[in-house]
Amino acid sequence: MFPYVIKRVLATIPVMTMVAVVVFAMLRLTPGDPAAILAGDDASGAQLEQIRRTMGLDQPILTQLFVWLKQLLQGDLGVSLISGTPVVSMIGSRVAPTISLALATIVLTIIVAVPMGVVAARRPGKLLDRTVMTFSVMGFSIPTFVIGYLLIYLLSLKLGWFPVQGYSPIEKGIGPFLHRLVLPTIALSGIYVALVARITRSSVIDVMGEDYIRTARAKGARESTVLLRHALRNAAVPIVTVIGIGVASLITGVVVTESVFNLPGLGRLVVEAVLARDYPVIQGLILLFSFTYVLINLTVDILYTVFDPRIRY
């Protein structure tokens, strides 16, 4: 187990380096001159040169790469071309709402979807199963923003239970923080609940046909023990895989939800940075997302071995 974890962690280093190089190359190779954008339309040639020199854009590309990688290792992602604030602090100020939303969504998804799937798998084809699957199809087919606006209309405007929009930092009290997180979390989790419930259902149904389930019943185990202890754990690998993929796509999926509920998160920062061609910010965000993806994959890989001791790569 332990050497396996070390091996997986070490394996992330080359991946991250590759990502860093690709991110660097991608932005340098796209058309458009950051110096020109920064300087504005009526800047003179000398001004442009001046800006290029201070930003290091006049250096050979390899030099720029090494300077950039060195700064990266020191935790320096550069300075925003637009606002002049360091990228690290820009991301830092935006990361809390996104992480809160993502975590809440994952937790809600797991709490709701896994039991839903197991219940449906208990008697496939029966009423309960069909009900669960109908909800799941709805979760799939209704877009997040539609769910979001519906929730706002019903629960905020009509009933007044929740605030319409906005975010309250956790430092200002846990009550308002959670209160404002409820609607975006429900809206965002719809599709993931549908996905995970479906996977849970089908992999539990598969496992229920296995011989060891029969052995468990022959021991005199209760049906709930059979389902949770024997079936679910064996069905865990595909479920964990899908949750992992879900979390990864969640990070990008928050863009819409953050817009609908006006949350000052990373999703909106992405949109702003792209529209303004703010290279350092875009680079920083891509790196952050890639790092998250790698981290999620690592977690999923390690979870595999927790659930299934046979897995050793």
Partner: protein
């Protein structure tokens, strides 16, 4: 009752299990009855064998008793199942759970899949105690599990306790399943083909273990099997089932020696003899020769030392046109590795595989591709070796079209092949699930023959089939060998099968070839020095012949058979001589002076198959 000792157990003398007029039907429109009017009893300490072919309803009966039928598919519609007088068909779900493992327990056919792969086996045995003996503390439970692991003769119980099922062998897993079944000393043990999936050595050990534990606790055993060797070895009484009905029932010796029903006679006599017919020496040209073949698997791990496992070492053999060469050995002896190297599904580490004069051991890419049609393979499991989404016709013609034959010509060839393997040409449009196991194996053989190979490798090709179907498929292979002249490399662990079909036999043990010779020689006089196949050098000799060990283990299975006086008087003598040589492992008497069951059994056996005159007649032609 053949077993007179019926002390202990039940005070009022009632049977542990009393099944009365049981009907089990498919749920749904037709309500077809798959078990009809079955009645049987099992007394304390008694072993009742239920025999029959696949689909005879014997397993369904067993699962009905445990209440483990899938309620969506099968339902007990009438009759009763009395377990110590209590009708389990009327028991509540909760009561049924209480009875399982405490009063009745079950050992399953497939030890490889019967255990939960993600829990340690210790936990899985412990679970029985956690469910039914809630009063026990953690330490007490652990002690009892350890004691149970020891009582099934598992080595190093401490290690086994913490192992996952995938770290254990099939035999070890079956022992663990037996632990789960017997830890609470149930009154009734139902064993559903518990040895079928195991190799012969392990089979024997598991049977002995079940009997030992049965004696210790006076357990009633209902033993489901299709193997008459097992019946001869352990049964007190036998229940023969066919198509959901009990055909015949009676004491073991009566059923085996004087079966009343034709069906029983058919079953008993379809068990093949261990003694092969002598065959003329084959002088055709050599189609396959393997020279000093070696295969080593390497395991390399991070922070771990490299580990090499030699699966095959220095294998030499020759196969002539029209010859069937049997490769026999136990699980893990390297037979399958050899087969896979010969067809180049695996790359041999050293040595040569010469097919029709060309060494394919090191070929790559296009040249290897071209040689592939010279050697074809038939796999063990006909249920899984055909693509379920392709029609049979597509599966069979695929190889031909890969080698550039037009679709029409390929289909014409497929129709010919269907006739050759004894199926109608119309079936080409169907899908594999529409066929029985035996038919599927015929299809697999047809597929392998489509490219007119010079060498056919059959890897345990009949092991998954019923005995009577086995005989048909073997006859087909023999027929095909005659018609097409294909050389067959026949891999099997079953000497009875090998005896039926093979001209020459090679014995493997621990990856090495230990004996090689004409089938009649190897099987009947195993201790003789072996003949080396293609060199004068003798293969690595070992102290006592490995085949004699195999033979000893498998011979018991053939013992009960009726000798065929007209044909093989000599066989009987030889068998008797062999039997005299090493039999009767003496067991100590019970403390209370009862003779042990084994001794009684040995005495029985001495009397019947070889000796008494009444057995000399052939029961049917």
């Amino acid at each position: 009752m053949t077993n007179p000792k019926k002390d202990g157990g039940n005070a009022n003398g009632q049977p542990v299990l009393d099944v009365r007029n049981l009907d089990v039907s498919l749920v749904g429109a037709g309500q077809t009855r798959v078990v009809r009017d079955v009645s049987l009893t099992v007394n304390p300490g008694e072993t009742v064998c239920v025999v029959g072919e696949s689909g005879s309803g014997k397993s369904v009966t067993a699962f009905s008793i445990m209440g483990l039928l899938s309620s969506e598919a099968l339902r007990c519609t009438s009759g009763s199942i009395l377990l110590q007088g209590e009708n389990v068909l009327e028991a509540s779900a909760e009561r049924l759970r209480d009875l399982r493992a405490t009063t009745m327990a079950m050992v399953f056919q497939e030890p490889m899949t019967a255990l939960n792969p993600v829990e340690t086996v210790g936990d899985q045995i412990d679970e029985v105690l956690r469910i039914h003996r809630k009063e026990l503390g953690k330490r007490e439970r652990r002690q009892r599990v350890m004691a149970m692991l020891e009582s099934v003769h598992l080595p190093d119980p401490e290690r086994i306790y913490n192992s996952y099922p995938n770290q254990l062998s099939g035999g070890q897993r079956q022992r663990v399943v037996i632990c789960i079944a017997l830890i609470l000393e149930p009154k009734l043990l139902i064993a559903d083909e518990p040895t079928t999936a195991l190799d012969v050595t392990t089979q024997r050990q598991i049977l002995l273990l079940i009997r030992e534990l049965q004696e210790k606790h006076n357990t009633a055993v209902l033993f489901i099997t299709h193997d008459f060797g097992v019946v001869a070895d352990i049964a007190d009484r036998v229940v023969v089932m066919n198509r959901g009905e009990v055909v015949e029932m009676g004491p073991r010796d009566q059923i085996l020696a004087e079966p009343a029903e034709d069906y029983t006679r058919m079953l008993v006599s379809s068990v093949p003899s261990l003694v092969p017919d002598t065959r003329a020496e084959n002088r055709n040209e050599i189609v396959l020769s393997v020279k000093e073949l070696g295969k080593t698997y390497s395991e390399k791990g991070f922070l771990k030392r490299r580990r090499d496992v030699a699966a095959a070492v220095d294998i030499n053999l020759t196969l002539r046109r029209g010859e069937i060469l049997g490769v026999v050995g136990e699980s893990g002896s390297g037979k399958s590795t050899l087969a896979r190297c010969v067809v180049r599904l695996q790359d041999p580490t050293s040595g040569e595989v010469v097919i029709c004069g060309e060494n394919i051991a090191a070929l790559r890419g296009q040249t290897l591709q071209a040689m592939r049609k010279r050697v074809q393979m038939v796999f063990q499991d006909p249920y899984r070796s055909l693509n379920p989404r392709l029609t049979v016709g597509d599966s069979i013609t695929e190889g031909l079209t890969n080698f550039g034959v037009s679709r029409d010509a390929a289909l014409a060839r497929a129709r010919e092949l269907m006739t050759l393997v004894g199926l109608s040409p119309d079936v080409l449009q169907r899908f594999p699930h529409q066929f029985s196991g035996g038919q599927r194996q015929r299809l697999c053989i047809a597929r392998a023959l489509a490219l007119e190979p010079d060498v056919l490798v059959a890897d345990e090709a009949v092991s998954a089939l019923d005995v009577s179907v086995q005989a048909q498929v073997l006859a087909l292979l023999d027929d095909i060998r005659e018609k097409t002249g294909v050389g067959v490399l026949f891999i099997t662990h079953d000497l009875r099968v090998a005896a039926q079909i093979c001209d020459t036999i090679m014995v493997m043990q621990n990856g090495r070839m230990v004996e090689f010779g004409a089938a009649a020689d190897v099987l009947t006089a195993p201790v003789r020095p072996t003949r080396a196949p293609c060199s004068t050098q003798r293969p690595a000799a070992i102290g006592t012949s490995s085949i004699s060990a195999l033979y000893e283990r498998q011979r018991y299975a053939a013992d009960f058979r009726h000798p065929h006086p007209q044909r093989d008087d000599h066989r009987r003598h030889r068998r008797r001589a062999l039997r005299r040589g090493h039999r009767h492992r003496r067991r100590p008497h019970h403390a209370d002076g009862r003779p042990s069951r084994c001794q009684g059994r040995a005495r029985d056996r001495r009397q019947w198959p070889g000796g008494s005159a009444r057995l000399h007649r052939r029961p049917y032609a």
